[in-house]
Amino acid sequence: MGKPYRSFNESEVKDYRDGSVKATLSQVNAGVIRRDLRDISRARDALSKFSTRELIDISARAGELFLKESLPLGDEGHQQTARDYLETLSSTSGLPHVMVQRNMDKIHYALTHLELILNGLTRGIDFSILDNGHGEQAGAPVCFYPTTEALGLVMPSNSPAVNSLWLPSIALKIPVIMKPGREEPWTPYRLMQAFITAGCPKEAFGFYPTDHEGAGDILKLCGRALIFGDKSTTDLYAGDPGVQVHGPGFSKILIGDDEIENWEKYIDVMVSSISDNGGRSCVNASAVIVPKYGKEIADTLGKRLGPLKPLPVDDPNAVLSGFANPKMGEWIDQTLESDLAEKGAIDATAPYRDGPRLVQAEGGTYLRPTIAYCESMEHLLSNREFLCPYASVVEVPQNEMLRAIGPTLVVTAITANETFKNQLLASSNVERLNIGPISTMKISWDQPHEGNMFEFLYKRRSIGMAA
């Protein structure tokens, strides 16, 4: 931990276009991780020497370094400028520069506003309570203890900003032990280097490219861990209190009876919810649920999104991302085709797409957007999520919507109806609720939308102390 290790086993991170090797990653066997974790208390001790305030300041400096400065890369003395990072990440992830920049800005914001975030996570407790382990809040004694000595992370490759989830862990004095995404080691590595350059002890970071056994050990041995993946991955850990699972979001836009006649006003928010960040995020809308005008809405979305084409990676108007793994693009295309062949759904983008969904362009593999009009929530495509701009449009009576949508990460409900709003506020299957025409992509840093990191890493206990 904190020390470079060159393994005999290496994996390659390749350009999504021509397959040229951009980096080799040493792959460690699980035994190395298990042995390092035996000494994890050293990592926590190193962080515990700092106050929360100091770590917030370090995080803020790390944010500036991450966004703007050259930082160490690899074990041969290379330095990576912010521009290098942006271009290299774009070349291996397929994300256009403009999207990488937006992700960088999000991470920068999170690091430079950690006080705000911690305030939201802890509901405003005085940071001295975290440093001392106990204190007083609103006149009541409080005492918090860490639930683990390390936060384990098995990261995805789809979107760099997902790293913002673990950033509070450092200020909360919990070291991170990470298996980076196979195709996206760049962001977590650069973040760790930024933290270390900003003054954070290097022991606080374990960066372990590894295999399934290693990933399993990180999840099992860290005590508290986050895993990202598809439903089959996350189902494995559902119900494990030590593992927070981040799977598909199935985020949705709902329009109430009272606003449906104004649906054209909300097309922009639908388009941005579906397609921002290349449609790769769990907070991207993957369904638009309306009481009527489903076909018309699907057609209008098709008209807006269907013509979108891949643009050069440095084009500021680029909306689509290339696939680092072209097979993933092929699989999604085949899945969509076969599901659209099932009765009850039509591809509303097809009339406006002038060509196939799966395209080779700009040297890489891309999927152009897809809007599927579905006759009911029974259709396979009504509640699906893909790594591209995709959404279904389904007509569901308002009084059935909340039952029909199932577990949903973000709901944007466009309604002013008090009854419907109250039903939405009382719903237990929605993690983040936007009431009004707010993009599903808009998240609040001071309100965790998917698990509260503080509550995951700390528990409150009752305490009594003799005077």
Partner: protein, 358 residues
């Protein structure tokens, strides 16, 4: 590198040994029913046409291991051993009938010779060993005990049934496999707690698991003799640097099976990138790394299929294609013939091989 003369002498010795073994197994007064019967069905005569190893490779087809499963054991009894009870050693058998090799003294010969390659520093004489691994009907169990005895040591045993582990893994019962492994390790730790042991034979995964729960150096382990599953360079390095604490415990990887005996390894370190090369106990057994389509050895330091030929008076097995692939390595001073390195299951790079948790 050995001198050319050493390599030539070893090759000459092998050729002479091949001629002797062919004569033994294909002469009615000494040979076994299987090979005598097999020779009658051929349109060529091994006694006349095989006088060296090259002849053997070009004339004999690949040995079919089903013969060891489907035929009764006594077809393999050489006339010279008739009437002597034999040991029956098994390999495979996760499902169905295992393959069986019979034998008398070969394992003692192999392991007595192997003992000379072990250092007294890491495998002290007149002390105690422990084997944690597949015992049961395997040659290894008797062989390890013989090896310990050969060095004046007695040996404790903790069994592991690899057939059961393979079934658990094939059935995706990973929790059960882990629990079984823990059960094995628990038993080994109990022995280590109550008895003084200086040398271990175990599999790489079990060694790692033992070391995670017990400081083996403090426990008094001085040497580990390890084999059974794949050890790539990274894993070998990890075992040497981390588990055996950078040489405090002598680490002796081996490649062997019931059909061959035991191949010794060329010393490994950072200098050779921990690439483990094994050298067969020639002339009793010969390992080639070949292209099975051409029956020719591949170039040095390239990958090919491992082919084993066993040449003892007890057992003749020409050109058996192992389920492994390896890099062909050049002869070594202490074994001036070809070696096989970085052995891994055949096709390991193309498909996921279930090797188990043990």
């Amino acid at each position: 590198m050995p001198k050319e003369e050493q390599v030539k002498n070893a090759a000459d010795e092998l050729d002479a040994h091949v001629a002797e073994i062919i004569k033994w197994h294909f002469s009615p007064e000494t040979g076994c029913p299987f090979w005598l019967g097999w020779a009658k069905e051929q349109n060529w005569n091994p006694l006349e046409e095989v006088s060296n190893f090259s002849d053997l490779c070009s004339k004999f087809p690949n040995f079919q291991d089903e013969w060891l499963r489907d035929l009764p054991n006594d077809v393999w009894v050489p006339q010279a051993f008739a009437g002597r009870p034999f040991n029956i050693f098994e390999t495979g058998g996760t499902t169905g009938m295992p393959k069986q090799r019979i034998g008398w003294d070969d394992f003692r010969t192999d392991y007595t010779a192997f003992s000379d390659t072990l250092s007294d520093e890491h495998f002290p004489r007149n002390h105690y060993w422990m084997m944690v691994g597949p015992t049961g009907p395997r040659r290894l169990r008797l062989a390890i005990e013989h090896l310990a005895n050969e060095r004046g040591c007695s040996c404790y045993f903790v069994d592991l049934d690899p057939r059961w582990v393979k079934r658990l893994i094939a059935g995706k019962q990973f929790d059960q496999a882990r629990a079984y492994m823990d059960h094995v390790v628990d038993q080994a730790l109990t022995i280590l707690k109550h008895r003084s042991v200086s040398a271990l034979f175990t599999t790489p995964k079990l060694l790692e698991a033992l070391a995670e729960r017990k400081d083996l150096v403090k426990t008094g382990i001085k040497g580990v003799f390890c084999g059974g599953t794949t050890m790539d360079k990274q894993y070998a390095r990890f075992l040497v640097e981390e588990v055996c604490e950078g040489g405090q415990i002598g680490f002796v990887p081996t490649y062997g099976n019931t059909l061959m005996g035991l191949a010794r390894h060329h010393p490994i370190s950072a200098d050779n990138d921990y690439s483990i090369a094994y050298y067969a106990p020639q002339p009793r057994a010969v390992l080639r790394v070949i292209n099975p389509d051409t029956n020719q050895a591949v170039a040095y330091d390239t990958w090919g299929r491992v082919e084993l030929t066993t040449l003892t008076k007890e057992f003749f097995m020409p050109r058996f294609l192992e389920r492994d692939e390896a890099l062909r390595r050049k002869p070594w001073d202490e074994a001036p013939w070809d070696g096989v390195a970085e052995v891994r299951p055949f096709g390991a790079m193309e498909k996921k091989i279930v090797e188990g948790v043990y």
